[in-house]
């Protein structure tokens, strides 16, 4: 099924008799495998409204992310949250779409400072499981009119409704960026450096620890601002620092964002969200190769195929999501962190009301 517009989308869902598998660009195929007819959103494409002077854009959900990014770049603006491109990890063919990115709440390294996808998302239109068209939020940055279903839709992986349109708050592309690099022997000392850096007023907006054992810190801004902050940060942190500028800096953060270091390595890839000061302990328990992002708040772990990493981690304050694994592993292990009973009851209640017939990506999230 491939609706050409929102009205057709609504009709198709209303008429559906069996489960549907919601497909944007097909590049973020995670979660429990869904059996169902594909509902492909690529027909809902195009930028509805772009107001650079108000830092806002409204775009159809099936629009290729690259199309949106090119349009924003032409005005010197961008999506603030640096969405991850999962193709490196999943080897998928398709092109990421705006709706898929929102459904995954995909947020990259800049999340530490600029917020997640859900923080920049200011409006949505979607069709629920009964075929009703719903709008929430709008195209203004400050909006507390009614409940915030915008956030609820972000990261709901198409299980509460099918997005037809999304509105975002944007940021200007800064004039310059620089990355500072230093050696850190283990996760604990890496997190220590990153926490100190993120606690300075120099607006570090990327803090990661890669497979090469180096901590990377990113600063962006006007050229003179960046050079001031770079010196001030090195002074504040002490130690030896190498510097990457311009294209080299950009390439490094793309590699971190897309977890390219695990792209060709065999094994399952897990994404673990924790408070940074718990990271070192969790890395020790995981006992497998890791990459730290978000100052240690995000751990990418590469574990042996088919292992239940969660069992090895034990009780954690946070959650682990299985991002890359075989269909068999995904069918056998919970992909998303099992929830405490009261939270699971709320999630189930929301699914039952937004998708009463259970036809939207059924089972994907639980």
């Amino acid at each position: 099924m491939r609706p050409a517009n929102e009205a057709e989308l609504s009709e198709m869902i209303r008429a559906a008799q069996a489960p549907l598998r919601i497909v944007g660009g097909g590049t973020r195929d995670i979660g429990k495998p869904v059996a169902g007819e594909a509902l492909c959103l690529s027909g809902l494409s195009g930028i509805t409204l772009y107001d650079p002077g108000a830092l806002t854009v409204v775009v159809q959900a099936g629009t290729a992310l690259s199309v949106l990014e090119v349009a924003l770049a032409a005005e010197g603006q961008r999506l603030p949250f640096e969405p991850m491109d999962m193709r490196a990890l999943t080897s998928a063919d398709g092109a990421p779409t705006v709706g898929g990115m929102v459904a995954a709440n995909a947020s990259g390294p800049r999340r530490v400072q600029a917020g997640a996808c859900r923080d920049s998302l200011i409006g949505v239109r979607f069709v629920d499981g009964a075929g009703n068209t719903v709008k929430n939020g709008g195209r203004v940055m400050k909006n507390v009119t009614g409940y915030d279903l915008v956030k609820l839709m972000a990261g709901s992986w198409g299980t509460l409704g099918v997005l037809s349109e999304c509105a975002f708050k944007l940021l200007p592309v800064p004039e310059a960026e620089v990355t500072l690099l230093t050696e850190a022997g283990d996760a604990a000392s890496a997190v220590g450096v990153m926490s100190r850096a993120l606690g300075t007023p120099f607006e570090v907006n990327g803090a990661a620890w890669g497979r090469d054992g180096r901590v990377a810190l990113r600063i962006e801004g006007f050229a003179s601002q960046v050079s001031y902050r770079r010196a001030a940060l090195i002074r504040a942190l002490g130690g030896d620092w190498a510097v990457l500028e311009g294209a080299a800096s950009k390439a490094l953060w793309t590699r971190i964002r897309d977890v390219k270091d695990f792209a060709d390595a065999p094994g399952d890839v897990w994404r673990i969200s924790v408070r940074p000061s718990d990271a070192a302990e969790i890395v020790a328990r995981a006992a497998c190769p890791v990459i730290l992002d978000w100052g240690g708040g995000l751990i990418w772990a590469l574990s042996d195929e088919g292992t239940d990493l969660r069992a090895r981690l034990g009780a954690i304050k946070g959650h682990a999501t299985l991002i890359r694994a075989s269909q068999a592993t995904r069918a056998a292990l919970p992909v998303f962190q099992p929830e405490a009973a009261p939270v699971a009851a709320l999630a189930k209640g929301l699914r039952a009301r937004f998708d009463p017939r259970g036809i939207l990506n059924p089972g994907l999230m639980g």
Binding site: G53, A116, L152, P172, S195, V274, V343, R353, F354
Partner: protein, 477 residues
Amino acid sequence: MEMPKANPAILAKRSRVIERLAAVVAPETLITDEAERRAYECDALTVYRCIPMAVVLPGSTQDVAAILRICHEEGVPVVPRGAGTSLAGGSLPTEDSIILGVARMRDVLEVNYADRVIRVQTGITNLSVTGEVESDGFFYAPDPSSQLACAIAGNIAMNSGGAHCLKYGVTTNNLLGVTLVQMDGTIVEIGGAHLDAAGYDLLGVICGSEGQLGIVTEATLRILPKPEGARPVLMGFDSNEVAGACVSDIIKAGVLPVAIEFMDRPCIRACEDFARAGYPDCEALLIVEVEGSEEEIAEQLAVITKIARKHNPVELRESQSEEESKKIWLGRKSAFGAMGQINDYMCLDGTIPVSSLPLVLRRIGEMSKEFGLDVANVFHAGDGNMHPLILFDANKPGDLELCEKFGAEILKLCVEVGGCLTGEHGVGVEKRDLMSVQFSEADLEAQMRVKDVFDPCWLLNPAKVFPLQASAARRAA
């Protein structure tokens, strides 16, 4: 404004409910005396008042759960209250309701600079959160103008913003975890000190739900390192159009000020009379503030003033000292007080796309003549959040009603140009009946379904947010 009639069956069991509550909470936390209950008859929207059946101010999450369990069993509506500073009537009681306030729960539970988080009980005031971490160089970013008095509980309920949200976002962008007590007494932990909560974004939907989904008793908030410094520039223009174009150009130039405040002539004049801040005599005034080190500030201000000059400002005053900065902000910060001196006023907070600013201000001016009521506009221009202050005389029969009608027309206009009814104050009772201007039946139905999940009996703050007619069947069930 209409509130549902008190349910006589509930009023009839008042003494039993109070007895049951007295059995589970400390005596000093239960207020039943009429004179003392009167203190809770309204919030900062003082035109609407009603004395609740009882007031409970518990000291712990467990107490909150015990109270809610009893009210749930007895079918008694509960109206949550933080510090009672809502401008939308968010904590306005009904005669057959219990006020549940978190004012006694003010503990700081954890401060962690390595993780840049603070965990608090939600009765703590907004400013005390910053106060707790300030000496170590950190702050809590959302800064509603009531921050000295307002509680974090209310900030979460209303998803409060502030003057600096262009850069730092509003409450929802700075909230990482909550302990929520549902109406049936279930205690739910959502999120924590990690950056993204698991599963559905329940945190996102709880924030801004106006106390209708549960009572938030504890919260984990993001704290940020304080910027090295901040400095404003003041600029005056001949017309609202030019000032609006200047805002747009500043944003397009890639500078991200922490605040862009806008005042129109009536507001400038009132502030000047009241505070003597030395504002120029002009049609529109902008205060733009930037942050950073001295050099960074100078550089950003240079970009901004260069843009401003292209728009022929009648005044361009870059602050050179702490004292001058204070003076520039003085007028803006006293705007509400200045208006209060002139008359009673109603403050709205509809948001519009910044590009519609000149049109909306022109229409408001025309309507002001039609209704015969004066309006002054202060405005968070960077994010389009308007604050028209409509002046009226509460002692003049019919003036309040006329003012409400005028206010409704302004909000309809905000929606018409692509904006919304409320940018930071919330819907409460004030804008409840205008919700259908912005939302279709299906839109409202989708929102009400969320309440069905969290509070199936519709006992938590039931007569708020949704038009009474839209929620009638659910409240009656």
